[in-house]
Each structure stands twice: as structure tokens, then as C-alpha cells.
């Protein structure tokens, strides 16, 4: 956003000339009797200022071809009218420029024609449709970066002509520094600026095949979104904090701030302490040398749906998140009380992976600093079980009785087999017993019904 704060001076000499001619031109000249601005295309022809011909001559020599420069007032003569509009392809487009807004923007010092160069014509009217404003003529650096970004070259390649340009993010005449509350890039406004295109059904998903997956809603519900909207915390992460702005790239691009390789560094912009801890943990490539994929922040915390870790939703997904890599451990966890209860309503209360193993500072059990190292395990269990003791801590939170773990936990396997034997035996015996009983029971019932009928029939006959 620096580009906007320190706006470079216009390279054209136009402003100088225009400023001078503005000085020469009085307000009254551009207004009619009732003060309404009138269309005066040739502001520099000052026939009623007889005492300045020489000065004008000098000025005109100094600025060849620019003598007839338009002042903003000239433009506003028409464009200051809120009603001014044009219909293009059935759409009504307002041509109104609000001077009250414009005069406070970063471009307030610039004349209209410094951007809309084609408007400066000799005739009474400029072309009905002006070419797009060439921001890059001043904002060279930003443009160079933008051209290489997903919004520049990337979008051109993938989305055809639906390329976001400067004004799509920065607006046209209402450009303020990004720290200004009125700016479209002010933190509180930025998510809605981006989501003009980045939401389901809008340009990015329709034309560029970006699966938005309820992104704007998810962001609003996320911890970052809540910080922003509920508390007005403008230092919270907004779109550009993670994705950057002019140099935005798709996550698949190696240099992207949201590429797997760079996510840690991106989060590190704010979460310095956590990242420092993480770098010392078993999940860090600095600690574990492996060909397997090591997790980065978003693997556990997600991106747009990121929530407070103490929150129910987050706690309930921990098991599955870890299970993406630690499949067997998650499976066995869900077979124990902790895991089973966590599937039920209120299940966020039982121990989750991180409650025993830690999160950012996670270490293998063999490491003395690990939460599940024998030196620390009693204390770890005591977080939920205050009466924890060394014997209690030898509970096997991932043990199963399955044949797969027969070697590891034979006593569990054989207990289960004995119980299964008891069940199969009892149910087989009584199952067969009952199955044999059913036909006999039906026969007896039918017989007794027949007897009753006969009895009743005999009674009726006797009567």
C-alpha cells in the first residue's frame, strides 16, 4: 500500500500548466449567473483577461499543446451532476464524480485529465468512451508486481478477459490510503472488496474455476474474521495478510505466500512465538528429516475456517486432522473411551490428540520434553484425572484387542477372545434352543385355539 501513501508526482508536465491556468481562471468564468458550472472546454482562452496576454504567451510557449488544459472544475461542470449517466449494453453507468469525496483522496492533487488523458480535446466534447486509465504510468513498480501475479498474468492465462484490474480493488475516484477507513483496502473493508469476485457464483469461481467453498462466510466465522468484525481488530489477518496484495499467487505456485513451503513464514508474520515452538517440534523439517510430508499450520488449523482451538468445532476435528497422517493411531483412539465419547454430543470434553501429545511443541515419547515421556506422563494425565499416578498412567490409550495387535497386547487379545467365546457359546446354545421352541410354540397355540373352538362348538350344540 506504500505506493498509495507516497504517491509519485505525475511525470507529465500537464499539472504545472494546468495549475497555472487554474490560477489564471477565476471561479466565475466557469460558472453561469446562478453559479451552475457550464461546459467550457477551452479554459485557457481568456479573452476577458486583457491584462495578461503576455503571460499567456509565455505560458503557452512553455507548455506547447497544453494551453487548452482542462481544470477539474471544467470536468465537474458535467461530471459533478449526480444524474449524469450513460447507457451501455443496456446498463446504466453513472458518470458522476463526487467532488466532496475526490478532494480527500490520494489523487486529490491530480487533475482529471492526468488520468483521463483522452478527455483533453480541442473540440467541445471528448470521445464518448474513454480508454481505460493507465495507472501503471505512475505506479510502475506496483504494476510490474501485479503483472506477474495470479491477478495479472495468471488470470489472463486462466480466465480470459476477466482479469481484475486496479480499480476492481482500489475503486476509481474514491482511492484512499489503506489505513483510511474509507479505503476499499482498509482492513475492515478488504474482505468485502475481495469477496466481490471471490465467492461462489461470482467471477473467480465462475470464470477462473477457483473453488471458493463458502470462503467469505467461512472467513467471517473464523477466528480472524471474528476478531475483525466482532472486535474491530484491524491488526487481525485479512485476505492480504496471508495472500499478499499485488503479488498474490495461487497456492500451487512455489513463490506464493500460501504455498505449503511458505505457510509457516506467512503465519510467522503474526504468530512468532508459536512458529518458534513449532520449529523445535517433531513436525518441523528442521528436526525430522523425512521424505514424508510434514504438516504445516493449515493442515491442522485449516485456512478460512480457522477457529479458536478451545472451541468445540476445532476440538472435534483434531482426531481426524491428525488422522490424515497418523491413521492407525486415530483409528485406535476412536476405539477407546476418549474417542468413543468424542463422537457423541458434548464430546469435545474428552481428551483429544493434542491434550496428551501437545500441539506446536509435540515431541516423540522418547524425548524427555515430550508430554507422554514417562517423566511427564503422570502430569499430563493429571490435567483431566487429578488423581493420576504412575500405575494409572500405564493405561494404554491406543491399545486394541484386535488380532493386529495380538503380539503387542496379548492379554487384551485373549481377554477379548475369551469374552467372544462366552458370547458365541451362550447365544448359540439359547439361540438354537429358542429357534427349536418357536415351531413347537406355534403348534401348541394353534392346538389350544382349536380345542377352545371345539369346546365352544360343543357347548353351543348342547344349548
Amino acid at each position: 500500500m506504500n505506493a498509495f501513501k507516497n504517491l509519485p508526482a505525475s511525470k507529465s508536465s500537464t499539472p504545472t500548466c494546468r495549475d497555472l491556468s487554474s490560477l489564471a481562471a477565476t471561479q466565475s468564468r466557469n460558472r453561469d449567473a446562478v453559479g451552475k458550472p457550464v461546459w467550457r472546454p477551452r479554459a485557457c482562452s481568456v479573452a476577458d483577461m486583457k491584462y495578461l496576454p503576455w503571460l499567456l504567451l509565455v505560458l503557452c510557449l512553455l507548455c506547447p499543446g497544453q494551453v487548452a488544459a482542462l481544470t477539474n472544475d471544467d470536468c465537474l461542470g458535467c461530471h459533478g451532476d449526480p444524474e449524469l449517466s450513460v447507457t451501455r449494453q443496456g446498463k446504466t453507468i453513472s458518470l458522476f464524480v463526487d467532488e466532496e469525496v475526490y478532494k480527500h483522496t490520494v489523487h486529490a492533487e491530480n487533475g482529471c485529465v492526468s488520468c483521463h488523458v483522452e478527455a483533453e480535446v480541442d473540440g467541445d466534447e471528448h470521445p464518448s468512451r474513454l480508454a481505460s486509465v493507465k495507472c501503471y504510468e505512475c505506479h510502475e513498480e506496483a504494476d510490474a508486481v501485479y503483472q506477474q501475479s495470479a491477478h495479472g498474468a495468471g488470470a489472463l492465462l486462466e480466465c480470459g478477459s476477466f482479469v481484475p484490474v486496479c480499480k476492481d480493488c482500489h475503486s476509481t475516484h474514491a482511492i484512499f490510503p489503506s489505513g483510511d477507513k474509507r479505503s476499499t483496502t482498509y482492513p475492515l473493508n478488504l474482505p468485502s472488496t475481495c469477496s466481490k469476485c471471490h465467492r461462489q457464483g461470482a467471477k473467480a469461481s465462475e470464470k477462473c474455476h477457483i473453488a471458493e467453498n463458502n470462503m467469505p462466510d467461512n472467513y467471517v466465522m473464523s477466528i480472524h474474521g471474528k476478531g475483525l468484525y466482532e472486535d474491530g481488530l484491524v491488526v487481525t489477518a485479512v485476505c492480504t495478510s496471508c495472500h499478499r496484495h499485488h503479488d498474490i499467487q495461487r497456492a500451487s505456485v512455489a513463490t506464493s505466500s500460501v504455498n505449503r513451503e511458505n505457510v509457516l513464514e506467512t503465519c510467522n508474520q503474526c504468530h512468532v512465538g508459536i512458529v518458534a515452538k513449532f520449529r523445535k517440534s517433531v513436525h518441523s523439517p528442521l528436526v525430522t528429516k523425512t521424505d514424508k510430508r510434514l504438516p504445516v499450520c493449515v493442515d491442522c488449523h485449516s485456512s478460512h475456517t480457522i477457529s479458536r482451538v478451545s472451541q468445540k468445532d476445532f476440538r472435534l476435528t483434531i482426531g481426524e486432522q491428525c488422522g490424515n497422517c497418523h491413521e492407525r493411531h486415530t483409528e485406535t483412539y476412536f476405539e477407546t473411551y476418549h474417542g468413543r465419547a468424542s463422537m457423541l454430543w458434548g464430546g469435545e470434553k474428552t481428551a483429544k490428540c493434542s491434550d496428551c501429545h501437545g500441539s506446536h511443541d509435540i515431541m516423540p515419547a522418547s524425548d524427555p520434553s515430550s508430554k507422554i515421556n514417562s517423566a511427564n506422563i503422570v502430569e499430563t494425565c493429571a490435567k483431566c484425572h487429578p488423581n493420576s499416578n504412575p500405575s494409572f498412567a500405564t493405561y494404554l490409550p491406543h491399545a486394541t484387542h484386535g488380532a493386529r495387535d495380538k503380539e503387542k497386547y496379548p492379554y487384551l487379545y485373549y481377554t477379548f477372545m475369551a469374552m467372544t467365546g462366552l458370547l458365541v457359546g451362550t447365544f448359540s446354545f439359547f439361540g438354537i434352543h429358542t429357534l427349536m421352541w418357536i415351531p413347537r410354540g406355534i403348534i401348541e397355540r394353534l392346538n389350544s385355539m382349536a380345542r377352545k373352538r371345539k369346546h365352544r362348538g360343543a357347548g353351543e350344540r348342547r344349548e
Partner: protein, 281 residues
């Protein structure tokens, strides 16, 4: 044909009926709350947890009913103690009383006779307790002991593990869970069928709620007991013309059918879940 007034004998005392009511209420609650945890991955289990207010509520109900279970367990022991005292027999004599609840050789004979009856033989002459009724009683006795002990272990794991290694909690889980599956499976299928759903009683035998049966029924279903009662002259003392009151019969039917159908639905859900996963726990 002269019409005789229907006569009744009491089969279950008020205390016995009360105990069975406690058994039903606590067992059904224990089964529903426990199976919801055991089969937590099933939709119905999650529905139970959600509609009851969460697994914490299920846990509280489960523990409350465990206390009820221990209560009726000891109440039964007290009743048995009293019965023993009244009988004037030695302890072993009381326990192995041929007409008592302990299975004996005669039960084996009756069982063989019953199987023969299934295939067209004569119906055995049953006494006060048939062998399947004895099994029901012993099974609950055994079940409460096993499920109760393992359950206490799981309720107070920190305390128990001071005396036993921690992996015993794992073992207790397996025993508690499978023994419960056995108990629920047995009660909700075998017991329900043998006692209520069999064709001559379908859909419900209300005797455990109303307490008495007709002398005709006694004579027909338990000829040996009838003969014994006649021989000892006790039948005359026991017989009453007072039929079970209508509201009690109605309540018994409504409540009994509710319990039988709830248990049946639960067992179907369990069987479906087990077929789906083929891995109980």
C-alpha cells in the same frame, strides 16, 4: 358344565416384583446409555446422546443406575438370607435345594425332555423354576458381579490402578463392554422370547408385575409345583379369589410392552451396527 370361580395363587411377592421393576428400569437405562457409547459411531447413538443432553448426562444416568443395580443386588442377597433363615436348612442345603434356584441334574433331564417336546415328545412336568428361568436368575447374578466389578474399575480408574496395573483398565473395558453386550443381547432376545414373546404368552406375561396366576395356569404350566403344593397342603392356604386389580394389569401391559419393544429396537440397532462394523467395541 358347572362354572368354577377362578382362583389365583401368588407367584411373586410385592418385594420380588419391586426388585424386578428396579432391574427393568436400571437395566434398560444402563443398556441404552452404555450402548450409545459403545456404538458411538452410529447415528442412533448420537441421537440418544443429543436428545438426552450429551454424553456427560448419559454417563451420569449410567452411574446412577449402577448404584440402583448394586442396591437391588444386595436387596436380593438379603431376601435370600431371610429365605434361608425361614427354611431352617443348612446353607448348602438351602443353596442346593432341589426346588431352589440352583441348577441341578433334574434341570438337565428337563432340558433334554424339553428338546424332545420341541420335536413332538411329551411336555416335561416343570416345577417352580424351569431351567431357563434358573439361568436367567444366575445370569443376572453373574452379570451384576462381573459388569459391576469391571464397571467400578472404570468408574474409579485412578483409585483402582493404585492396586492394579494401568492396562487392567483396558481389560476391564473389554470385559465390561462384552459382558454388557451379552447381558443386553440375552435379555432382549432370549429372555424376552422365553418369557413374553413365545406363542403361548405373546405378547406379554404380566405375572412379574401383577404377581399372581390362576390355579389352572399353575396346574398346566408347572404340574410338579402344583402337585407339591397340593401334597403339602400349602395350596389351600395360598389360594385366593382376588384377581389382580384391573389398573395394575393395564399398567403392567403398557409398561411391559414399552420395555419389550424398547429392548427389541435396541437389539436390532446393535445387531445392525455389529454387522456394519464387525468389530464390537
Amino acid at each position: 358344565m358347572t362354572r368354577k370361580t377362578t382362583q389365583y395363587v401368588e407367584r411373586f411377592s410385592v418385594v420380588q416384583r419391586f426388585i424386578h421393576l428396579l432391574v427393568i428400569l436400571s437395566f434398560l437405562t444402563l443398556a441404552v446409555t452404555g450402548m450409545a457409547l459403545k456404538f458411538a459411531m452410529e447415528g442412533w447413538a448420537q441421537w440418544i446422546a443429543l436428545s438426552s443432553g450429551g454424553f456427560v448426562v448419559l454417563g451420569a444416568l449410567h452411574r446412577f443406575c449402577a448404584v440402583v443395580t448394586f442396591f437391588y443386588f444386595f436387596l436380593t442377597l438379603i431376601l435370600l438370607y431371610e429365605k434361608w433363615h425361614e427354611s431352617g436348612k443348612s446353607l448348602l442345603g438351602f443353596i442346593f435345594d432341589p426346588e431352589g434356584l440352583m441348577p441341578n441334574l433334574n434341570d438337565l433331564k428337563e432340558m433334554v425332555g424339553t428338546v424332545k417336546w420341541f420335536f413332538g415328545g411329551p411336555k416335561p412336568s416343570y416345577g417352580r423354576w424351569t431351567y431357563w428361568e434358573k439361568f436367567d436368575f444366575i445370569a443376572v447374578f453373574w452379570g451384576v458381579a462381573v459388569i459391576g466389578t469391571s464397571g467400578l474399575f472404570l468408574w474409579f480408574p485412578e483409585q483402582f490402578s493404585r492396586f492394579f496395573p494401568g492396562y487392567w483398565i483396558n481389560i476391564a473395558t473389554i470385559i465390561h463392554s462384552d459382558e454388557a453386550l451379552l447381558a443386553a443381547g440375552f435379555i432382549f432376545t432370549i429372555h424376552f422370547y422365553n418369557t413374553h414373546l413365545r406363542p403361548d404368552k405373546f405378547p406379554l406375561d404380566p405375572v412379574i408385575f401383577v404377581g399372581s396366576i390362576t390355579v389352572e395356569e399353575l396346574k398346566h404350566e408347572r404340574p410338579r409345583e402344583y402337585a407339591q403344593l397340593v401334597a403339602s397342603g400349602r395350596l389351600e392356604k395360598m389360594v385366593t379369589k382376588r384377581a389382580p386389580v384391573a389398573w395394575l394389569r393395564r399398567m403392567a401391559t403398557i409398561f411391559g410392552l414399552f420395555v419389550v419393544s424398547t429392548g427389541s429396537v435396541l437389539i436390532v440397532a446393535i445387531v445392525v451396527a455389529m454387522i456394519k462394523h464387525f468389530s464390537p467395541h
